[in-house]
């Protein structure tokens, strides 16, 4: 058993029992990262900083000052600003950006004793579902289909975070989710990921994509690990005006709690054409496991589900076009030359943004432009309310909702990259919770015929991550998912 195979909880327990030091644990991860460069999960390794943080952690522990994550080495999605450590959003426009401040979420992880291993790859500005829009090249999924050497996507946008956790290159990682960017990569890599209720985690210091949808959350090896990380990442922050000023429970206490008597909603609309039979079967397995655990299964309807993605592709690009207006080449980031000010702006942004980012800025600018605002943007916001109302109605009948996470297993790199809509459909089951602001968790529950992991999603009421963690704990226990990607890298 290598130290990198440990779960976060087991590693923290081992550190507390003085079985090994944080420096030893961190060194083991640094070695694993160096041996796994072919996956392209880390775009910046910070081994010196990691060892320094680990040594300080060991010193704190010796003084009896251990925090909840004391000594645990983690990876950070390169969308979180890290003080003095380059933060790029995997874009050319921020290729050399070095923040002079730390995001609230990461600062809370360090406050609780965690150690930073480096910065993880993502789709550029978190826009993508396969990690292929990264300026630094795609991440390769540690998982391969049985008997195949074909490179698969780890999903996106948090593909680096998911791949690093799946390949034991960190004990857990930060991630963000605007339409499914935590949960779809978690499903594709056999890991656990949760997007909490909108407002649980501060967005301060996280490079903005679509501010009314963006939420941070962890990707981890187990449900309990995800609960540990989310407890540390959550909390009120006056620097984010949408941060919720409410107490954060210790989420770990809900993992393993009985789910007897809970009503679990099964939405009939969470099926798409050509969805593999294995995903339908896994969903039925999940229903059976929860019944066995004492839950009552309730059929529900979320009738506006099919309109969620089209609404999202107005709301998110509209907000993105506004948020990304800040990249003007004047105060930070890339600047290209031009004959006059407008040309400098235009050349800087043409050179600094990738094709998918430009596509979304253009859509956003179009739907917000004079004459189209009411027809597109306001219409999408009204449909967004319909989607939120669907969930409000569902909560009169059930306590949590069980769905598949994604409509397929991991697909090959390059397979969907020429068809934007086919790529967007990856988020068909996850995007609804972003629009409604609800917590959603994906956990691995089985393998398909090719030996690739599949995920189930648990959606909760606003601020009811507690129930989500209890239900996820019950599914995790029943599924007994222990498969790991066979090491080839």
């Amino acid at each position: 058993m290598s130290l990198t195979n440990l779960t976060l909880k087991a590693a923290i327990d081992g550190l507390a029992a003085r079985e090994f030091t944080s420096v030893e644990l961190t060194r083991a991860h640094i070695d694993a990262i160096e041996a796994a460069r072919g996956l392209n999960a880390y775009i910046l390794e910070t081994p010196d900083k990691a060892i320094d943080m680990a040594a300080k952690s060991d010193a704190r522990r010796a003084l009896g000052e251990a925090g909840p994550l004391e000594g645990a080495p983690l990876g950070v999605k390169d969308l979180f600003c890290t003080n003095g450590v380059r933060t790029t959003a995997c874009s050319k426009i921020l290729e050399n950006f070095v923040p002079t401040y730390e995001s609230t979420v990461t600062s809370q992880l360090w406050r609780d004793g965690a150690v930073m291993l480096g910065k993880l790859n993502l789709d550029q500005f978190a826009m993508g579902s396969s990690n292929e829009t990264s300026y630094f090249g795609p991440v390769t999924n540690p998982w391969r289909a049985q008997g195949s050497t074909k490179a698969l996507t780890p999903g996106g946008s948090s593909g680096g975070s998911a791949a690093a956790v799946a390949a034991d290159l960190c004990l857990g990682a930060t991630a963000t989710d605007t339409g499914g960017s935590i949960r779809q990569p978690a499903a594709f890599t056999g890991t656990v990921g949760i997007k909490p209720t909108y407002g649980r985690c501060s967005r301060w210091g996280v490079v903005a994509f679509a501010s009314s949808l963006d939420q941070a959350g962890p990707i981890a090896k187990t449900v309990e690990d995800a609960a540990l990380l989310l407890t540390s990442m959550s909390g009120h922050d006056p620097k984010d005006s949408t941060s919720l000023d409410i107490p954060v429970p210790d989420f770990t206490q809900f993992v393993g709690k009985s789910v007897k008597g809970l009503k679990i909603g099964i939405p009939k609309e969470y099926r798409v054409d050509n969805m593999p039979a294995e995903i339908e079967k896994l969903w039925q397995d999940g229903i059976a496991w929860l019944k066995e655990a004492g839950c009552e299964i309730v059929d529900i309807s979320l009738p506006h589900t099919k309109y969620a993605l089209p609404a999202y592709y107005i709301v998110a690009p509209a907000e993105a076009s506004s948020n990304l207006a800040r990249y003007d080449g004047m105060r930070y980031g890339l600047r290209e030359e031009g004959a006059n000010l407008t040309e400098i702006y235009e050349n800087t942004r043409a050179s600094g943004f990738g094709d998918e980012v430009k596509r979304r800025i253009l859509i956003g600018t179009y739907v917000l432009s004079a004459g189209y605002y009411d027809a597109y943007y306001l219409k999408a916001l009204k449909v967004r309310r319909r989607i939120a109302e669907d969930f409000d109605n569902a909560w009169t009948k059930c306590d949590a909702i069980l769905t598949p996470t994604a409509p397929s297993a991991a697909f090959g790199l390059g397979e969907n990259s020429n068809d934007p809509i086919a790529m967007y459909l990856n988020d068909v089951f996850t995007v609804t919770t972003n629009l409604a602001g609800l917590p959603g968790l994906s956990l691995p529950a089985g393998l398909d015929a090719n030996g690739l992991p599949l995920g189930l999603q648990i959606i909760g009421k606003p601020l009811d991550e507690a129930t989500v963690f209890s239900v996820a704990g019950a599914v995790e226990k029943a599924a007994g998912f222990t498969a790991k990607a066979e090491k080839w890298w």
Binding site: P238, S241, Y307, Y376, A380, R386
Partner: protein, 95 residues
């Protein structure tokens, strides 16, 4: 509503993204594909429906109108593409 090359040129200008002439037509087709897919929103009955702009029910918090940060121009300009003596250097915009 079909997007043509002229619309792409106008939108790209509004978005301040230089777009070469030969990219306008392919981009128009791409964006049309996406917007046609989005058109299905017209099927949804939204009569009497208020737009949902925020999922956070609470009002926006207010704080004291006081300076909380500042006085560190070197830090502020540390990522500037061009700066001199802690000032941003920008192109000449007035003749």
């Amino acid at each position: 509503m079909a997007i043509d090359a002229a619309t792409v040129r106008k939108v790209a200008r509004l978005a301040r993204i230089a777009t070469p002439e030969e990219r306008l037509e392919p981009l128009a087709q791409e964006l049309n594909g996406i917007m046609t897919w989005i058109e299905q929103l017209a099927e949804v009955d939204t009569d009497g429906c208020e737009p949902l702009t925020s999922v956070v029910a609470a009002g926006l918090p207010l704080r004291e109108d006081v300076v909380t940060m500042g006085g560190d121009p070197a830090r502020v300009t540390s990522n500037a593409p061009k700066s001199i003596n802690n000032f941003f250097v920008v192109p000449k915009v007035v003749e």
